[in-house]
């Protein structure tokens, strides 16, 4: 048996945008075992629901994560609406879908850039983030902020999109489609990208199911599972297609996310076309009593909020299970056997969001 070394990877590392530490047990250049050490971003915000009332907590939920911020607040609001038996107006459901899908495009572009950065492909990083600015500008025009949209509220949404705004969305979506048509095939067929991703970080279908992988990680391993299929918000009316791959390696995860970006654009188009008129929110009276598990599909996978109210204006308990938390166990199954240089690529291929994970 050759000599074993332990290499700490992180928390401050050039390719990691966020602090997570992986203790890599190495045998020469090969990883034998990996152990995560988290807790660098643990804030303890679940406890804050006892101090802030349930309307303020919408903004708290939004700040669980700065990337899928809007979808966190929507999950929280959907949960409370279920407890309080509030039916939100149709227009609000469509607006949530549009903002949610635009958010997904921005998240996937961000991830594509960071992945490219992790293997040193600066051009793709720069180009993906340049396209992402188009999405962020669109969000700022329609919702008022680039990252923290702050438009969701219990009972609907807080801002309407005017007809000009909808036309603006369609224009941006068309421009994005043009950009994607140009650079996504280049990225997927590039020789050097294939060299770094094909066959790296394999996760079989059985492993993915056993370890509870969610989102694109599960779909890249052949599990056709997407919570949007249940048709929450307006997904039932708009309809969508699940993108799956079977290889289960980094390349498959990349392909799944690239396919989803196209799918998001199509859904936004269909939602804008079918946009109903009417109110955007309903007044909500009273305080929540009861418990509920709210679920929703985020860019990284399925998020779960457990909410319990006891009739007071503060909730009794909020618990958040974020997609990256579920994907950490599959990550530990992917790492053994890979080379040290592939570790950043594999870590980024699950699209880790550590601030979600630790809350």
């Amino acid at each position: 048996m050759s000599k074993r070394t332990i290499i700490p990877f992180g928390p401050q590392h050039p390719v990691l945008p966020e602090p997570i530490q992986l203790r890599l047990v190495m045998e020469e250049e090969r990883v034998v075992e990996a152990l995560p050490a988290v807790g660098y971003i643990h804030r303890g915000l679940e406890k804050l629901v006892e101090k802030k009332d349930y309307n303020q907590c919408v903004f708290l939920a939004e700040r669980v994560c700065g990337i899928c911020s809007f979808l966190h607040s929507v999950t929280y609001c959907q949960g409370l609406e279920e407890i309080m038996s509030v039916t939100i107006p149709d227009r609000a459901r469509f607006l949530r879908l549009i903002w949610g899908e635009v958010h997904r495009v921005h998240s996937h572009l961000l991830w594509l850039g960071l992945l490219a950065d992790s293997f040193g492909f600066e051009n793709v990083f720069m180009h993906a983030w340049r396209c992402r600015e188009m999405v962020l500008d669109l969000l700022e025009r329609t919702a008022g902020h680039r990252v923290m949209l702050g438009v969701s509220c219990v009972g609907g949404v807080r801002r309407d999109i005017s007809d000009e705004g909808l036309a603006d969305i369609l224009r941006t979506v068309d421009a994005l489609q043009k950009e994607f048509d140009e650079f996504v095939p280049v990225v997927l067929n590039d020789y050097s990208i294939k060299q770094r991703t094909v066959g790296v970080g394999k996760l079989t279908k059985e492993q993915a199911a056993e370890l509870g992988a969610v989102g694109p990680v599960a779909r890249a391993s052949g599990i056709a599972r997407d919570f949007r299929e249940t048709g929450y918000a307006a997904y039932g009316e708009v309809g969508f297609k699940i993108v799956t791959e079977t290889a289960g390696d980094c390349y498959a995860r990349m392909k799944v996310r690239c396919g989803e970006m196209y799918e998001c654009l199509n859904m936004v188009r269909r939602a804008v076309a079918a946009m109903p008129a009417g109110a955007i929110n309903v007044p909500v009276k009273g305080n929540p009593t009861g418990e509920v598990v709210a679920r929703l599909e985020q860019p990284r996978g399925e998020v779960i909020y457990y909410l319990k109210g006891n009739g007071a204006k503060n909730l009794e308990r909020m618990r958040i299970r974020t997609p990256t938390f579920a994907n950490l166990a599959p990550l530990l199954a992917m790492l053994p056997g890979c080379e040290l240089a592939d570790v950043p690529v594999i870590v980024l291929s699950i699209d880790p969001c550590i601030s979600c994970t630790e809350r």
């Binding site: 309307n55 903004f59 025009r141 008022g144």
Partner: protein, 95 residues
Amino acid sequence: MIKRVFSNLFGSPATRLYPFTRREPFAGSRGQLKNDIAKCIFCGQCQRRCPADAIVVGKKPDKSWAFDRYRCIVCGYCVEVCPVKCLSMDPKHGD
């Protein structure tokens, strides 16, 4: 792709040349909180609703409205609940 290469080489740059040219902020964008103090009735609604405790309203007789922009999370909730609409979000981003 060749087209993109040429447009990147010879087209105008994608960069916003901040701070030399400043773009107009989008209307409705949430920049920073402003209070039209002449209209303010010091009711304290904004203080109670602020999720980040950034606003402190002094009641009678010593009326005041103190705003800590180093706490404000720019959510706009206070603007929404203000009964006399003296609060507003300036789309400009600070100074």
